[in-house]
């Protein structure tokens, strides 16, 4: 059975060793103005690579507005 997390309140497949950085690579989230929270806790940019995401976690990767 596929294990999941919530990513912006949508299902996202979980795998062993999943990090914020990995999620951002998979989703191709390249926008520079992004806010990341895991279970409501703010994650700083320098911690994306080392922040491990566990099964069932609630991850928010919030993009601020763009558009001139």
């Amino acid at each position: 059975m596929v294990q999941i997390i919530k990513l912006n309140n949508r299902d996202f497949p979980w795998e062993e060793g999943l990090t914020i950085e990995k999620i951002m690579e998979i989703k191709r989230f390249t926008f520079p103005k992004i806010i990341v929270k895991v279970n409501g806790k703010l994650i700083e940019k320098e911690d994306y690579a080392t922040t491990v995401v566990n099964k069932g976690d609630n991850v928010e990767i919030i993009h601020l507005l763009a558009g001139g």
Binding site: I62, G67, G68
Partner: protein, 717 residues
């Protein structure tokens, strides 16, 4: 250029002397009226009612336009006006982006009011010369210029037969002519259109500012809605303003210290954070070209797709490394540390009447790169810069040109039109030579360029009536609404943005709301009510910039380092407070965030009722082309099949074994129904009935139950 000879050709038609006056808390308390039919020049008082209900800028423009026109006035009637107004904060030099003007007129594309915001020095210098707004009415017999000398207190209307028409030359000629010397050139600003504006409906206005480092007259554009076309139709060649003593305190602010303090805080942010965020100081708004591609939002080949492998060739770093001059201050008004008015210098033109010349290209902004580039299938940075240059100097809106050309290209590729119809032009996606030839034809007033220059709305009609095209298909793929071409974002996967485009007053321009990330990526607007709240707040918030003379970009193209800790980071609360503080500093008005939205609501609903008075502005006018909502063709669906199949499963439809056509039909029914439901929710939130008409009760709540407004809406309740 022989400036002396050109000036000797001027014939004085009217002259008006005025007292220079003073500015109090951001207002001169008078506006300048110029009629070029009978050569009347007059001063009008700004009334307390105007300030209370319309604030300034776009508010003043719409109010004057309403009073000048009737429900039957057409864009090319002498009664139509062009109103330029800055707003009370326009001209301050301590906070970034405070030199904006708003231009209002009845649009040749939409036949309703259009408003377009623009940088450059004209708005601030107009105010310092003694005028909160310039209102131009009438139609001259021969080409004229209007000159406002804010040093002498003199306004003249002059015949000007010998000047060039194209913006980059005319801007230089008149700057040279009216400046006393090289140093004085920064004290002159010129408004021009261009030769293409004469032969199309998508003409723009160039607002100049002299760049003393480059020694070039730079141009910023009031692009949308064809105001340049109105300008040339009135036989106005240019407007000139001259004011020689710009200082930081000319607005005679209520509390200058507050403005200074807020400005310093903001400048520090730009200095510390821009290179970590949007790189506005290096490339301006074009920083998002590759970002939009990554998120499938970059329009490719008439909005069919949202990304393309060749975007790599036109990404922002290509422009930064090869074309855009780096390390110079590029603000389009004093004190703008965001400095995003970038330019490519010594760019050698390959085509047209200026072929071989080296010019300064003002741009590219994101919309130019996306509209002139990817949306036309053109992935060549030099092609984009050349098209950008010619659009500006010919006075053609890059967005309307890009979207209209992309539409014509798709019609050509699908066999709806052919080479016989295009006069031999091979109008295929990616064909730069053809695209630029369309522009040159617009300038010369000949060939298929003048057809494209009528805009998508009129091309659709022509292709159906004359060439037997399928009207339903053209409605689906023609990216216009209310007669205005869509700006350059793919909205298919964001219902909120479909509304952000579709429920605008002037037509689908993103300056009211850009909600794609909040909706599509962040999933922060899951319900219709959430989307409706965003489609109330953001359009009202962004309307407010145009009332005061602010640029929107410094609001969210940089955010404070601690913005992420705030409750609503999308709104950038600290910057909202900055604006309230600056407005307090200028005017003495201590506004809350609720007051701010209310000020906008008054003007927004006034514009809505203006549309209704012109026979539009109802629910039927918010109908949108299906390409803004979802895949029209088999190719579009199949290019993102997994996405669409999954969505069908989510709505309870099994796509297995179904043809693409069947799946498109079901998806379309679903998405169109969603758009209608969103419309219901948004109208309710905005205080409108189900037909999109503001209710009298709501107008009373806003304090906008003016008799002339009630008269328009009372039978539509």
């Amino acid at each position: 250029m022989d400036i002396k000879r050109i000036k000797e050709g001027h014939k004085l038609l009217a002259e008006y002397k005025y007292e220079l006056g003073t500015i109090e808390r951001g207002y001169t308390n008078r506006t300048l009226y110029v009629n070029i039919s009978d050569n009347t020049i007059a001063s009008k008082a700004v009334t307390p009612m105007m300030k209370e209900k319309f604030v300034g800028g776009k508010g003043f423009g719409l109010w004057y336009l309403w009073n000048a026109t009737t429900p039957s006035t057409k864009w090319d009637d002498p009664e139509n006006e062009i109103v330029i107004a800055g707003g009370p904060a326009c001209g301050i030099t301590q906070y970034a982006g405070a030199g904006k003007s708003l231009v209002c007129s009845l649009s040749p594309l939409t036949d309703i009011p259009i408003d377009s915001n623009v940088g450059g020095f004209f708005g601030p210098l107009l105010k310092f010369s003694g005028w909160d707004a310039l209102e131009i009415q009438g139609k001259a017999e021969k080409d004229v210029i209007v000159v406002i000398d804010g040093n002498k207190g003199l306004v003249t209307i002059e015949e000007a037969p010998y000047e060039a028409v194209d913006g980059h030359i005319l801007g230089e000629q008149l700057t040279e002519m009216y400046a006393d010397n090289e140093d004085d050139k920064r004290n002159v600003s010129v408004v021009t259109a261009g030769s293409g504006a004469e032969h199309t409906r998508m003409g723009l206005l160039n607002f100049s500012f002299y760049d003393p480092r480059r020694k070039v007259t730079r141009l910023k554009q009031a692009g949308r809605g064809g105001i340049g076309t109105v300008f040339r139709n009135k036989k106005i060649k240019a407007l000139v303003v001259k004011f020689s003593n710009v200082k930081g305190d000319l607005n005679n602010a209520y509390d200058q210290a507050v403005i200074n303090k807020t400005g310093i805080k903001y400048h520090r942010e730009i200095h510390d954070l821009d290179h970590l965020q949007n790189n506005m100081r290096k490339i301006g708004t074009a920083n998002i070209i590759e970002v939009m591609d990554e998120y499938d939002l970059l329009p490719v080949m008439n909005f069919q797709y949202g990304s393309h492998p060749d975007t790599e060739k036109i990404k922002s770093t290509v422009f930064i490394e090869k074309y855009i001059t780096q390390g110079v201050q590029d603000g389009c008004w004093y004190g703008c540390s965001m400095s995003c008015a970038k330019a490519a210098d010594c760019f050698k033109l390959k085509t047209g009447p200026y072929k071989g010349q080296r010019v300064t290209v003002d741009g590219p902004e994101y919309e130019n790169a996306a509209g002139l580039g990817s949306n036309c299938g053109i992935f060549d940075p030099e092609a984009i810069l050349e098209l950008n240059f010619y659009c500006d100097t010919y006075g053609i809106d890059t967005i309307s040109f890009g979207t209209a050309t992309a539409f014509a290209m798709e019609c050509y590729e699908r066999g709806i039109i052919n080479k016989e119809i295009t006069g031999g032009l091979e109008l295929k996606f990616g064909n730069f030579e053809t695209a630029v030839e369309l522009l040159h034809q617009m300038s010369r007033g000949e060939g298929f360029g003048t057809v494209v220059g009528q805009g998508v709305h009129r091309m659709k009609k022509l292709f159906v009536e004359k060439y037997g095209a399928d009207p339903d298909f053209l409605f689906d793929i023609g990216m216009e609404q209310k007669g205005l071409e869509y700006s350059e974002y793919v909205s298919k996967e964001s219902l909120a943005q479909q509304g952000g485009y579709g429920f605008t007053n002037k037509g689908p321009q993103h300056d009211e709301a850009w909600l794609i990330f909040m909706d599509m990526v962040n999933n922060q607007l899951p319900t219709f009510e959430d989307k409706a709240e965003a489609l109330h707040y953001f359009p009202m918030f962004r309307t407010w910039f145009g009332l005061y003379g602010f640029c929107k970009l410094p609001w969210n193209d940089i955010v404070p380092a601690d913005n992420k800790y705030t409750d609503e980071p999308a709104k950038v609360p600290e910057h909202v407070q900055n604006y309230l503080d600056v407005v307090y500093g200028v005017t003495g008005k201590r506004l809350s965030t609720e007051d701010m939205i209310r000020e906008s609501e008054r003007v927004y609903n006034f514009q809505k009722i203006f549309n209704i008075r012109m026979g539009k502005g109802l629910r039927k006018n918010d109908k949108a082309p299906y390409r803004s909502m979802g895949p029209v063709t088999k190719e579009e669906y199949e290019s993102r099949q997994e996405r669409y199949d999954n969505q069908l499963k989510e709505i309870g439809y099994n796509p297995e074994g179904k043809t693409t056509e069947e799946k498109i039909k079901v998806l379309r029914e679903y998405r169109e129904d969603q758009y209608e439901k969103l419309m219901d929710a948004v109208y309710k939130r905005r205080g409108w009935n189900s037909n999109g008409v503001p209710t009298i009760e709501y107008l009373k709540e806003l304090g906008m139950d003016l008799p002339e407004l009630i008269e328009v809406v009372k039978d539509l309740q």
